[in-house]
Each structure stands twice: as structure tokens, then as C-alpha cells.
């Protein structure tokens, strides 16, 4: 994804080479020298600043949800069921985003849902990155049949739609929050495995890692002190790019009623229950939807920007 097309620092750098590749007849305007503000915005495009701001706000909410939320996510107020939000013609300022079918405050539930969805996506991504990197390095270290097995698993994982695998596992094992997080941790591990395997093999064969091994370093030192720190930026960029996908997967499964189970609440789960009231109280479903879209969008923008800055080789 290239959201920051043509405005990022890296795009400016190879603009000259691209100029030559343009179809004949196209004229690219020359860039005029710019001031300090312009240079600042070239390094930090406004879209990236906005996205970072949104992500920080979400993290803040996740950290301080107990203080921020006016009500518990399970607190019911049966006299005030399906109250519309204040800007939707509602009059009840105690419920800024209205209430749901059981009179629970939508805003408070939304804040708790943000925490839950971010936590699941965070741990899921972290598990996937750890697992994938571990398997990739294992393959690079042992080669031979270990590598063949890992490569086969990578092929399998990449060729089956993960949603189907996830649904099958949920059917067979039932659902619990821990299992669900572990399941999210299996999403996309093959990407980290591919990256770390490739980088570790080339480092071992011709680079610094081979040289350090030649100095007599044990394997833990080669991987822990040299290879991992060197590939960390690439892995972090891939994690950032995978994070929104994990959020979408989590919310999709929760929407289907197969992810986070009540009384716990997550963004997808709120949309799923809000859908029943789409005619009478669409705000229940719209509020979490907006959060999902803005959060995934923000993280994608930041991920693309990070990739352009740290690791342009990653596609």
C-alpha cells in the first residue's frame, strides 16, 4: 500500500529515476526549494501525524479505560434503553453515544471494546511474530529436513484462507479468550518465518553472522546479539502492517459470534449485536464500525510510512 504516494522522503529521492520511466510526453514539474515547515511536513506528512495521533488516543483509552468510562460495560439501565446519541436527537447527556437494547452506555462499552480489541490484536501479532521468527531462524540454522518441514508449513498456511482454519479450530476446541488470542497468534506467522529465514540464511552464508561464527561464537550469541537486532526493523515494519489485519480478523470472528464472547465486549462483537437493532438504533453498530475503520486506517498509514523510511525492500 502506498498511501503517501509521491510525498514521502523516499519517493522524492527516486523521483528522478522514475521521471525517465514515465511515458513519453509527460512533464514532471521541478521541485522548488522549500522552507522549514515544508521540510518538516515532508518528513512527517500530515496524514501520518493524524494517524499517529489517533493511535496514541486509542492507546490512551486502552490504558485508562477505567477512569475514562463513566459506566461499567455491563451496567444496565433498563429505563433508558435505546436512547439515541446527543447529536442524533438524543437529550440524555449522561449517554453521549446513546444506549443499547439493555440500556448499557454505548460510549463506555466502546471504550472497553477498544481495549479488548487492541489487546487481542497486540498479543496475536506478538505471538505470530515470535512464532514465525523462531521457526524461520530454526529453518535457517538447521537447514535440511527441518527447513523442509518449516517451508511446507509456510506453504500450507499461505495457501489456505486463514478464516476457514480459524473457524475449524473454534469448532473443534470451543471458545475461550486465551484460545482465541492464541488462534490470532497463528495468523500471518508465515510472513515473519519467510523474512527471518531469508535474512538469517544470507547473514550466515556471506555476512556478519558467518564472520561472528568464525570467531567461535555460540549460536545464541549469533542470533541474539547479531542477527535478531539486525532484522528487528524489518520485523517491526511487518508487525505494523499485519496489525490491522489481525484487528479485522478478530472483529470479523467476533461479529459472527465466534470470537469474544459476552459478557466481554470487543469492537466486532458490538457490531454483531448492534446489527439486530440496525433499524431502530443504528448508532450501536455505527460507533464501533467507525473506530475499527479509523484504527486500521491509521495503523496502515503509519506502517507504510515506517516501511518507506526503515525498509524500502519490504513489499
Amino acid at each position: 500500500m502506498a498511501i503517501t504516494t509521491g510525498s514521502g522522503p523516499s519517493a522524492g529521492e527516486d523521483a528522478t529515476t522514475r521521471e525517465r520511466n514515465l511515458p513519453p510526453g509527460e512533464i514532471v514539474e521541478k521541485r522548488a526549494p522549500r522552507g522549514r515547515t515544508a521540510r518538516f511536513f515532508e518528513a512527517w506528512p500530515p496524514s501520518v501525524l493524524l494517524a499517529l495521533g489517533w493511535i496514541l488516543a486509542m492507546l490512551f483509552i486502552a490504558a485508562f479505560v477505567e477512569i475514562l468510562a463513566a459506566y461499567s460495560y455491563t451496567a444496565m439501565d433498563l429505563r433508558a434503553r435505546l436512547t439515541p446519541p446527543v447529536f442524533w436527537g438524543g437529550t440524555d447527556v449522561r449517554h453521549l453515544l446513546g444506549t443499547d437494547e439493555l440500556g448499557r452506555d454505548v460510549l463506555s462499552r466502546l471504550l472497553y471494546s477498544i481495549r479488548m480489541s487492541l489487546l487481542i490484536a497486540f498479543f496475536g501479532t506478538l505471538i505470530a511474530a515470535t512464532l514465525g521468527t523462531f521457526l524461520g531462524i530454526l529453518a535457517a540454522h538447521f537447514r535440511g529436513w527441518v527447513e523442509d518441514v518449516v517451508l511446507m508449513a509456510i506453504d500450507f498456511q499461505a495457501s489456505m484462507p486463514f478464516l476457514i482454519i480459524a473457524l475449524a479450530v473454534l469448532a473443534f476446541f470451543g471458545n475461550s479468550l486465551i484460545l482465541f488470542i492464541c488462534l490470532m497468534g497463528f495468523h500471518g506467522w508465515e510472513r515473519y518465518a519467510r523474512i527471518s529465514r531469508g535474512l538469517a540464511i544470507s547473514a550466515n552464508e556471506q555476512g556478519y553472522a558467518g564472520a561472528v561464527r568464525q570467531l567461535g561464537a555460540p549460536a545464541w550469541r549469533i542470533y541474539g546479539r547479531h542477527i535478531l537486532p539486525n532484522i528487528a526493523s524489518t520485523l517491526i515494519v511487518s508487525m505494523t502492517l499485519a496489525f490491522p489485519e489481525t484487528i479485522l480478523l478478530e472483529s470479523g470472528l467476533s461479529f459472527l459470534g465466534l470470537g469474544v464472547q459476552p459478557p466481554l465486549t470487543s469492537l466486532g462483537n458490538m457490531v454483531g449485536y448492534g446489527r439486530e437493532y440496525i433499524t431502530r438504533a443504528p448508532w450501536i453498530m455505527l460507533a464501533p464500525s467507525v473506530i475499527i475503520i479509523l484504527t486500521t486506517l491509521s495503523i496502515s498509514i503509519v506502517g507504510d510510512w515506517l516501511r518507506d523510511r526503515l525498509d524500502p525492500t519490504l513489499k
Binding site: Y208, A211, Q214, L215, G216
Partner: protein
């Protein structure tokens, strides 16, 4: 691992290589279904190396020079023959004994930038071997690293620099310092100067000679540059397709080569004085694919002097009257029939 280095008796070579061979199983083009084949990268190589001496190995790319170096270092296990270092066989790669042996044998690379971790200041990398082998107290590492930096001609200001901030020659000095901090007795140099600017090459060669005298190092010096080899080597071995074809004193061998292949290599050295210009022998064709090594003398398809015997009989590496070793029927006067017509 004791802390006192084992000094070999004077009569025993530092490094003894006998009938060393390494074959690789490869597949011909066609991927998974390609026919399996055997590639003899190194085949029946023998040589000795003493402390304080330099053995040069020269040859075209793909002749098995680098594989020989990797076998000597024990990074690869030989499929035949043996390597003895200070009187003992080199252990299997990756074992604790092999790792401990790294204190005694070290390597210098062709590409110093690739051999350094870009993320770590070079001073830290110079002292890393001490950390790996747990030598001395942590507090002494830094001063030891500074000593080595000084020995390779770099000041203390370089300690905190990163590899990308240094020039090619400076990086190679860092690699040397890192290798020498362990006080090895053997240094394997795989094309250590070929990636450097010509102006820097001489500096690094002088540094190598200086360090050899200072630390009584044995060098295994791999290169395709005959002039450099003649400058620093006490003995030189010419390799062709995994075998040594000629071995001896560099002055003798590079002035009056006996093997047709060496003759061709020597004739390719550029000479400034026009008066001393010799006829240039240009080899026909590329070196054959090591997977399809010709029968008999493997050089015969490109050899201007090949006879019928060369096509069937592998020549042995035997001494000539002047003491050098040559593997050639023609040079030994055993070729029999007249040279066949040039094809």
C-alpha cells in the same frame, strides 16, 4: 581450553594438509527433477605451512581456493583426506572444540563491510572475540581492543565509529584487529585486498607483513593476484579445478613457470617495461564446469601442449630437478607422443 597457547615443536608444521578432498552433491539444471551429480571442488590437495611463513594459493574463480580455505578452517568437513592443525585433526564445525580452536586460527575476508555488523561500533566488534571466549576481565577488553586498533594503524578515535563511516582499507584493518585480538597462530586470508583500491592495497600488504613478523603468524593467502602473491608469499600453490598443478618458490615459479596453466597465468601479468614484454598466452575457452571435469589431465582441453597421454592419464604432482612440484606430463618429459594438432 588452557590459557597458555600450545607452541608446536619447531620441526612440526603449523598446518598439515594431506589428500584433502571435498565433493558436493548437486543437481543439474531442472530443479527437483534434475539429475544428481557430484562436484569435486577440491580433490587430493596436500601442503604444509609453518609458523611465520606464508603459503599462497592462486587460480581462477571456481578452482577450489575458497573451498580449501573453508576446509582448513574446519567450516566445511572434508569428504576425504585430513587437515591437522598444530598436530591435531580439526574438529567438526559447530562443536565446542571447534569453537575453542577459533582462538588459534582466524580468517580475513574479501568483503570487510559484509563481515562487520553494521549496527555495532567497530571497537565493540574488535573486542567481541574476547567476550566470546571469556578471555580476561571485562575491564581489560577495551584497552586490549585499543592496543589492537593501534597495531593495525588506527587510533582510539575509531573505537566508537560504525563500519559505514570507515573506508574500505580501514574496515579491513578492523577485521584484521578483530581476528588478531585472539592471538591466533594461523590467519587465512581470502582475497583480503582484492576489494580495496589499488592505493590502499600496498598499505594493507605492508600491514600484513608487519603483523606477521610481530605475531609470528602463519598465513594461508588466497588470491588471484600473482604480483601480490610474489610479494608476500614464501611458497605458492597454483590450483586448477580442485587440484594443485604446480607448487614451489614464488620467484622460481612465477619467473619460469613449468606448468602450461601457470605459464598462461604468468603471461597475463601486465608488465610496465616494454622491452621485457613476452608473448601473451591466451587460454582457449572458459574453465570447464567442475561437475563435468575432463578425463585425464583436467587442463587438457585448454592446453596448447596437450598430448594423447594427457587425455587419459591424470598427471601426478611430482618434484622437478629444481625442487618445485609440478603435475604435468609434458613438464616431466613423459608426454610420449608429439603434441597433437591445435584444435
Amino acid at each position: 581450553m588452557t590459557d597458555t597457547p600450545i607452541v608446536p615443536p619447531a620441526d612440526r608444521p603449523l598446518l598439515q594438509v594431506r589428500d584433502l578432498a571435498r565433493a558436493f552433491h548437486v543437481r543439474r539444471a531442472g530443479g527437483f527433477f534434475g539429475r544428481p551429480a557430484t562436484l569435486h571442488a577440491v580433490d587430493g590437495v596436500s601442503f604444509d605451512l609453518r609458523r611465520g611463513r606464508t603459503l599462497g594459493i592462486v587460480g581462477e574463480s571456481g578452482c577450489g581456493k575458497t573451498t580449501t580455505a573453508r576446509l582448513v578452517l574446519g567450516v566445511l568437513t572434508p569428504t576425504g583426506g585430513r587437515v591437522e592443525f598444530e598436530g591435531e585433526a580439526v574438529p567438526a564445525p559447530g562443536t565446542a572444540a571447534w569453537r575453542a580452536l577459533r582462538r588459534r586460527m582466524q580468517m580475513v575476508y574479501q568483503d570487510p563491510l559484509g563481515a562487520l555488523d553494521r549496527r555495532i561500533p567497530v571497537g565493540q566488534q574488535v573486542m567481541e572475540p574476547l567476550a566470546i571466549h571469556g578471555i580476561g576481565a571485562r575491564a581489560e577488553w577495551r584497552s586490549r581492543a585499543l592496543e589492537l586498533l593501534d597495531a593495525v594503524g588506527l587510533g582510539a578515535t575509531f573505537f566508537a565509529r560504525y563500519p559505514h563511516e570507515l573506508s574500505g582499507g580501514q574496515r579491513q584493518r578492523i577485521v584484521l584487529a578483530r581476528a588478531l585480538i585472539l592471538e591466533p597462530s594461523l590467519l587465512v586470508c581470502d582475497e583480503p585486498i582484492s576489494a580495496l583500491d589499488v592505493s590502499i592495497q600496498a598499505q594493507v600488504i605492508n600491514l600484513l607483513l608487519d603483523l606477521q613478523a610481530r605475531f609470528d603468524l602463519g598465513f594461508l593467502f588466497i588470491s588471484h593476484d600473482l604480483k601480490v602473491v610474489r610479494q608476500i608469499c614464501h611458497e605458492v600453490a597454483v590450483m586448477y579445478l580442485g587440484r594443485i598443478v604446480e607448487q614451489g618458490d614464488p620467484d622460481q615459479l612465477l619467473v619460469e613457470p613449468a606448468h602450461p596453466y601457470t605459464q598462461a597465468l604468468v603471461s597475463a601479468i601486465p608488465i610496465a617495461a616494454a622491452a621485457r614484454r613476452r608473448p601473451r598466452l591466451i587460454l582457449k575457452g572458459d574453465p570447464p564446469n567442475p561437475v563435468d571435469r575432463p578425463a585425464g589431465c583436467s587442463f587438457h582441453p585448454r592446453c596448447p601442449a596437450a598430448t594423447a597421454r594427457c587425455l587419459v592419464d591424470i598427471p601426478a604432482l611430482k618434484p622437478l630437478p629444481d625442487g618445485r612440484l609440478v603435475a604435468c606430463h609434458v613438464a616431466h618429459g613423459e608426454a610420449g607422443a608429439r603434441p597433437r594438432a591445435a584444435a
